[in-house]
Amino acid sequence: MKTRIREYRAKYNLTQEKLAELVGVRRETILFLEQGKYNPSLRLAHNVAKALHAAIDELFIFDD
């Protein structure tokens, strides 16, 4: 899984800490999400997408 969270975070000038606070998770969770090392639940993916004003499939890219 590849994510574009870092790119969108930079676009809105958000730090990992700030995004984590907005979504209600720990900073480490955002870190591992960005690196594609954690598969989030649909709820978390939705919350991250909402915080970054993007659609879920814009943020999370799966290679089949």
């Binding site: 720990r26 969770t29 594609g36 954690y38 890219i61």
Partner: protein, 216 residues
């Protein structure tokens, strides 16, 4: 919210138990329980002391806590079975200790198993490549099997010895030589991968699809 309530309930129960244990002068177990609470809730306690609020209990934290608690429970169950076995057959180096002293060490060690498990799932595992994770679990299985077979061999050696059939060398050799050697291999191997994961700052490169393929 459920997680917060569960944590709060666990701390309250532990405090009540500690007070009860101190009042019955079982200081060993009370201290062990206190150490276990500190090991299990060190993150919450540190966060409360520093930020005056509890840390976020996100889904990743909850998953890791569940896995670590499951490992700790399995360890405790297996240890209780083997300790019961050791008391049943009067293994000298176990029976020398008071059962409450043994319980204290069991509490502390299960707290350590929980803590190491949590750190592994939270920090080390995401930084290891899949084959490395596989090797880590293989070494851990070797450690567990060697520990179990060592205790079982001592048990069988003692049972056969008590029956007075004959001197029994096979289980003795397994229990005294082979099992400890295998335990050493399992312990060192799993520790190497554990520390490797913890000390790796950058995540290893993973196969990323190239941009053209995504756009196509």
């Amino acid at each position: 919210m459920k997680m917060r309530k569960a944590l709060l309930a666990a701390v309250i129960i532990a405090v009540i138990l500690m007070v009860a244990l101190i009042s019955t002068r079982e200081y060993y177990v009370a201290i062990a329980l206190g150490v276990e609470v500190l090991l299990v809730f060190r993150r919450e306690i540190w966060h409360l002391a520093r930020y005056r609020r509890l840390p976020p209990f996100d889904e990743r934290f909850q998953e890791n806590v569940k896995k670590a608690a499951r490992n700790s429970f399995v360890y405790m169950s297996v240890a209780i079975v083997f300790l019961t076995l050791a008391y049943a057959i009067n293994v000298d180096y176990v029976v020398d200790y008071e059962p409450l002293q043994v319980l204290s060490w069991l509490l502390i060690s299960s707290g350590l198993v929980y803590l190491l498990g949590y750190i592994f799932y939270d920090r080390a595992e995401p930084k290891l490549r899949p084959p490395e994770v596989g090797r880590f679990w293989t070494f851990l299985r070797i450690l567990g099997i060697a520990f179990g077979s060592g205790i079982t061999s001592i048990f069988l050696h003692n049972v056969i010895g008590r029956l007075g059939v004959a001197e029994e060398p096979v289980f003795f050799l397994i229990g005294v030589l082979l099992a400890p050697a295998a335990m050493g291999v399992g312990l060192v191997g799993s520790l190497v991968f554990f520390i490797k994961g913890l000390s790796r700052k950058q995540l290893p490169e993973i196969d990323q699809p190239d941009d053209e393929r995504i756009q196509a």
